[in-house]
Amino acid sequence: MCRVSFIFHSSLFLLLVPQIVYSQDSPAPATEWISPDALIVVEITRPDAILDAAFQDDVVKAVTAIPAYKDLMANSEAQQAFNLVNYFKGRFECDLPTLIDKVVGGGITWAIGPNEANLLIIEAKDAKTIEEIHEFFLMNARNDAEKAGQPDRVASAEYRGVTGWRFGPNEAHAIVGNRLLVTNKPDMLKLAMDLRAEPDQPCFADSESFQEAKRASSQESVATVYANMGVLKQIPKLQKGLSENENPLASLLFAPLQKSLRNANWVSIAAEIQDGAVQFQLTTDGTVGDPSAADGFALPEVAGEGAMPNFDVPQQIAGISLYRDLYRYYAAKDELFPERTSGLIFFENMMGIFFTGRDLTDEVLAETRPEIRVVVAEQRYDSNVGTPSLQLPGFAVVMRMRDPDKFAPIVEEAWQKAIGLVNFTRGQQAEPGLIIERPTHADITYTKAGFSAADEQDRASVNPRHNFQPTLAMPGDYLILGSCDTLTRDLIDAIGDHGDVDAMTDTHSIAVIDGPQLASILEKNSDAMVRQNMVEDGNTREEAEMQQRILRTVLQNVRTATLHANSTNGQSQLIVRFELSLPVSVR
């Protein structure tokens, strides 16, 4: 939290405080003023590109028109900040983009070191502006102290010919040439001055891994984050998160990435702004390992294999496609999760009930291909049932069977046993049970279970249990396990239309989220979301409504968010891309 506070205060200061003496000589890169033991370094190398994108007329018009922006502007703290900005705009006779450009246009570098030490280096284009803003804050700090009857909070000292200033106990800063340096630990500031004065001393820029990461980053990036994994991996929480046998489900989902991060010396994340999109690319030197090893169940062994493209169904909220060999994963369980074996055996015994004593590894999982797709979509409700008071999205898991003639009846039996167990348990609690039907859609007969709606009085607000209509459909060699009927029918259609599509070579995980569709379902459950926010966060109804509006607005403007994880040349790469509704681009 201390870090957040530091960032906030320094950002505000930075935004408004700029720089100084215009240096005749081009100064050394900011990373040469950073200690070699920095853990994370963020560099915004092209602030002009970000400003260009953020302040395009269309973007400004779109952002200021949204209700959430107006809500935010009504907030007194935001108002105060904007009044201050307006003051400086007037004083320097420029617009906001120009003001920001004058202050930070040369670039921003932020280093996080051990013991929560932070150093922020801002490179101004206009040194005079930063000096004047600094004077303004200096004067205000002194005035505030005087008004409160407190001693002057501002302190200053000389070090290596540079004046360092302090406004409070957790802040120190200095202006050197056209650079403003802000830190929460004065020692970091001193070290920066030492490195400036003695350029031969070891510094962060000399680090081999940093240089390697730099080379691996895209030249088009507007900002990069570098993390020293050699040190960060020692943090117990991260160590636990990367541990291969900590959580079987996490391993199944993230095994390749976990492994490469475990092996990594560095990780870099490069941000790019492209036409209408923002993209982040994670690169690391860590290897994903051997596909034939026990933990290689997510890595294709055969050329041309990989995750299949996601399905596309109406009102789709999200899709996930994974290349995972469940047979290999489960067969290696003793090796992968030695401490969890007894729990997994219990699970296996339970599965034995549903699969009539068959061996889970050899007679069940071995019957599936390494293709797993999950689809989440808004539901359409049957008017004979009604609309639930809480509208939950439907979800489905789609897999492929190796031998459908043999395996389909086994799955059908297991599924009906599971429904029977659910009904028995609900019956014990005097809760209504599921009724099994065998409808047909697009010539495919499938199995569906649903609750009777006969007792429902208000069809516009029926019990939330009607969100669940478990279904099992097996068109061709596909196996669809769905939570609702409409999604299953849409998937039967999608599979029919799908034809032969190629796998995405080397890609082991793909995820896509549709922002507007997610916003749509949030809006349909707005009352419930607001209520939940009120008791969970302690907000007033108005505050909760505003937060929900902001969230929906953000989602509506993120057309899609996609994630691609692949293992090119034995190394992990992760690309997260946000396609925006706003017309952002770099000129």
Partner: protein, 456 residues
């Protein structure tokens, strides 16, 4: 020999209205005492208003509730119902805490909490959040009304039968749970009835069955024979049993004793002589509201016999901090923490409810209370720093850092501290400049950890 300050008083004087005098003045401490018992603590402005308005006007206000009560209840009822429909008991618990925090009628919620413990119905046994919500609504509806009406309503509440394990009572096998609890805890008390009375009364409840969340009466399952209950014979039905038990002289006395423990003192066991005037008043028509009013207005209530003679329950402890700070925070998290401290709303530990008193305090819960106070006042963490002592002090004009600790002592402890404790607390006042309010937060947390703050 220890003096019994609760019973060494003339009952007539004890229950007469308190009129401030030179020897027994109306002070900030007394105002705080009233708000601790009849509400969940007070805001600074409520304390100031109470001090200037005097005791009786303040009691009037507490008995009447604030403005826009109907609108408040309407909105809260809707929120709670939506939460109950989702089946989430944790969320329901959080909504009740929020209601306690925000209500313009805290006495009503305080009494609802009293009855919740009195009937001891647990959501974990009922297993249906909508039925539990309905149960609490029944308690709230009759909280300051007539106990006889409340018992009638409770006897029609399916949650009560489920909570007592009495969901089915048939002629061939009468379920004794309802009749036993009615006599043992809800009216007569132990030693005032026999096993025969329980067996006979349970026959009167035959035919009542809870099916799919509804209480239904099956005539064919009702025992129509003659039952002899507490010496009276007849073809009694459920409503007759309720009437008969309340006609017993011990019934009002038992209830008054419970109310005394809730509102006045849980230290001494009051004598029958002291309670008789209230028991006689209650016996007339079982109007609990009138008895509560008499207690709250009385000389006895504003005397040493009542002052700081109770230990705050976890709910009282936490809400007094939050109300005092005039803040709102996550009641989901708060309700979980209160459950860990022993008060899990909607889930009393047994049908006897919460024992209260010294049962609230042990080394683990005391540490837990200190940790909770620390979390509530912390700048960051679970509650997000939403309670800000500097801001509340500033709102009342205590901007000066040297004055704000004093403001907090007045707010939470009404300046009533032994000299040694006051000195000890004073030593924790921040001496350096408190630029971000952290030191004042720590001071507030220290104040809430004092023994005096644990007492009601």
């Amino acid at each position: 020999m220890k003096r019994d300050i609760a019973n060494d008083v003339d009952p007539d004087w004890a229950w007469s209205s308190y009129q401030p005098s030179e020897s027994r003045p109306w002070t900030l401490a007394m105002a705080g005492h009233l708000y601790r018992r009849a509400a969940f603590g007070a805001t600074y402005s409520e304390l100031q208003q109470a001090v200037s308005g005097g005791p009786q006007k303040t009691v009037d206000r507490l008995l009447r509730g604030g403005e826009e009560l109907d609108a408040f209840h309407h909105v809260m009822d809707q929120d709670e119902l939506a939460s109950a429909k989702s089946g989430n008991m944790g969320s329901l618990r959080a909504w009740w805490l929020r209601r306690m925090l925000k209500t313009p009628y805290p006495l009503l919620e305080k009494m609802t909490l009293f009855w919740h413990s009195h009937f001891g119905i647990s959501g974990s046994r009922v297993g249906d959040s909508q039925l539990m919500l309905q149960h609490i609504r029944v308690l709230r509806e009759h909280a300051l009304g007539k106990y006889s009406s409340m018992l009638d309503a409770v006897s029609q509440d399916p949650a009560v039968y489920l909570g007592l394990g009495a969901q089915s009572s048939r002629k061939a096998q009468p379920n004794e749970e309802f009749a036993r609890q009615l006599m043992h805890r809800l009216s007569l008390g132990p030693g005032n009835f026999g096993e025969e009375d329980v067996s006979e009364a349970s026959r009167a409840f035959t035919g009542w069955v809870v099916l799919r969340g509804q209480l239904r009466f099956f005539d064919r399952e009702h025992d129509t024979g003659v039952k002899k209950i507490l010496g009276r014979s007849g073809n009694w039905k459920a409503e007759d049993v309720l009437r008969i038990v309340l006609e017993q002289p011990v019934a009002p006395r038992m209830l008054v004793r419970k109310l005394y423990r809730w509102f006045v003192s849980e230290v001494e066991d009051p004598s029958d002589r002291l309670l008789d005037p209230l028991a006689e008043m209650l016996a007339k028509d079982y109007d609990t509201g009138r008895v509560v009013e008499t207690m709250l207005r009385s000389n006895h209530f504003f005397s040493a016999a009542a002052y700081r003679r109770r230990i705050k329950s976890p709910v009282e402890f936490a809400l007094e901090i939050v109300r005092g700070m005039e803040g709102t925070l996550s009641t989901v998290i708060l309700s979980e923490e209160l459950a860990q401290l022993g008060q899990n709303l909607y889930n009393p530990p047994t049908v006897d409810g919460w024992y209260g008193g010294r049962h609230w305090i042990n080394s683990a819960t005391m540490t837990g209370r200190c940790n909770l106070a620390h979390s509530l006042f912390a700048r960051n963490g679970r509650y997000g720093g939403k309670l800000d002592p500097t801001a509340i002090a500033s709102r009342y004009g205590y901007d000066d850092p040297t004055a704000s600790p004093g403001f907090l002592v007045a707010l939470f402890l009404q300046d009533d501290l032994p000299k040694s404790v006051r000195e000890e607390l004073r030593r924790t006042i921040p001496s350096s400049i408190d630029t971000d309010g952290s030191a004042l937060r720590q001071f507030a947390s220290n104040a809430a950890a004092l023994t005096e703050f644990q007492l009601s």
